[in-house]
């Protein structure tokens, strides 16, 4: 009796596994992509409500913790403010020089991009694929491959799009790869996703080494991303003479758990 029940369960398990594999193979086909995207879009409004609810609860609970941390945060911000004022003065001077040089070279490249603002309504269900779900889709001009940013910097790329929703692969996704250059040393490298922090592999260059605090920006190499989007700040650098590259950890400018609004660049076509 017991053995028969176990074999019935195993039979059901194998049947369901086969059905799910078949479903996966069918829905993976390109002709099914539209229907799949449409189906996923139906859940987006419900997720939007839940995300809003989660945000409201976060705001309420955050009040208790905020009071005790605000004082320390205030001191830290005052110090940061002084440093930033100095940087603004330096950057203003650099910008004037930069503008003159651009004019002289008749530099006509435009940095303006057409963008669509989208609200984040959900996040990937597990740690293997760090994705975000947004409430804008093909009906709003959002297509797979488009670049997603915030005011702070690069977020990722649209992976899949339905009529009223899209799934964005973030930089934290283990499969994500972005070519970058460093703001001070000018060294080039590749940022990959990771469970805790973004990893950067920096190519060696004679006489130049990367240092903590440098900014990593998209280099445009490979044509996957436009040049100049901020990725993050180098938190730590591990230099090895015996290796052809250095390893670094990058503090991403975007906190995927905290972003609620993103911008989809609709006029950049990755090559």
């Amino acid at each position: 009796m017991y053995g028969r029940s176990q074999s019935r369960s195993t039979g059901l398990f194998l049947t369901l596994c086969a059905s799910m594999l078949l479903l996966a193979m069918v829905t993976e086909q390109t002709w099914a992509a539209g229907a799949r995207g449409a189906l996923k879009s139906y859940l987006a409004p419900v997720e939007a409500v839940m995300t809003q609810l989660a945000g409201n609860v976060d705001r309420v609970t955050a009040v208790f913790g905020d009071v005790s941390t605000l004082r320390a945060e205030n001191q830290r911000l005052t110090a940061a403010d002084q440093a930033l004022r100095r940087q603004v003065v330096e950057l203003n001077a650099a910008a004037k020089e930069n503008a003159t040089l651009r004019q002289a070279l008749d530099f006509e490249r435009s940095y303006g991009h057409r963008m669509v603002a989208a609200q984040i309504v959900g996040r990937g269900p597990d740690g293997f694929s760090r994705t975000l779900e947004v409430d804008r889709g093909t009906a709003d001009g959002v297509k797979p491959g488009m670049i997603v940013t915030t005011g702070a910097g690069l977020v990722g790329r649209v992976q899949e799009a339905g009529p009223h929703g899209a799934i964005v692969q973030t930089l934290a996704d283990p499969q994500s790869r972005v070519n970058v250059f460093l703001s001070t040393s000018g060294l080039q490298g590749t940022v990959t996703g990771g469970p805790a922090a973004l990893q950067l592999e920096i190519d060696h260059s004679i006489g130049v080494t990367a240092t903590s605090g440098e900014w990593a920006l998209t280099s445009g190499v490979g044509g996957g991303y436009p040049r100049g989007l901020v990725v993050g700040e180098l938190a730590s650098v591990t230099h090895r003479d015996s290796s052809t590259s250095d390893q670094a950890l990058v503090a991403w400018v975007n906190d995927p758990a905290a972003i609620s609004l993103v911008l989809v660049i609709t006029d950049f076509a990755p090559s």
């Binding site: 596994c17 996966a24 859940l43 997720e47 990937g124 269900p125 740690g127 293997f128 694929s129």
Partner: protein
């Protein structure tokens, strides 16, 4: 009516997982509430019941992630089947067993998910990162298991009173 209630509960669990749970990330992993719920259902109501709900919850997860429909359902099925096997062969009243079963089922779930993605030609994470995520997620889900089990016992008390769940 009761089934509709469980569907609503699973939908709520999946929605909480894709909206709230990522805010609770520790060592790159966050709780997989759908998996924990399926393990708790399997432990209290039996393996066939658990597998049925694994398919429902898995398809809901597939609707919130990139890629085709099916891999999450397949992974949850593996978790439910392993839990059912565990529950059938070991002491069901012990609290330690469901906790260990949750950790083992999370490992099975993750392995099947990565394997299914690989078979379907979808990108998979590097082995080192995958291992790190699996260990962290297993510990996380195991820690949540007693709470989930207590809730499931309350919600599912008529089924829990059945003499021999299959």
């Amino acid at each position: 009516m009761k089934r509709l209630g469980i569907v609503a509960l699973l939908l709520a669990t999946v929605l909480v997982q894709v909206t709230w749970a990522p805010r609770l990330t520790v060592a790159g992993a966050f709780p997989n509430l759908a998996l924990v719920a399926v393990i708790a259902i399997t432990w209290t109501a039996g393996v066939r019941y658990g597998m049925a709900w694994a398919v429902v919850a898995g398809l809901m997860l597939d609707l919130t992630s990139d890629g085709p429909l099916g891999p999450h359902a397949l992974a949850l099925l593996a978790g439910a089947y392993l839990t059912g096997f565990w529950a059938r062969n070991l002491d069901r009243d012990s609290l330690l067993h469901p906790v260990i079963a949750a950790a083992a089922s999370t490992a099975a779930y993750s392995s099947v998910l990565v394997f299914a993605d690989d078979v379907l030609g979808l990108p998979v994470p590097p082995l080192g990162i995958a291992m790190q995520l699996v260990v962290a997620a297993s510990l996380y889900n195991a820690a949540l298991m007693p709470v989930a089990l207590a809730m499931m016992h309350k919600l599912h008390s008529p089924a829990a009173r059945r003499p021999k769940p299959v």
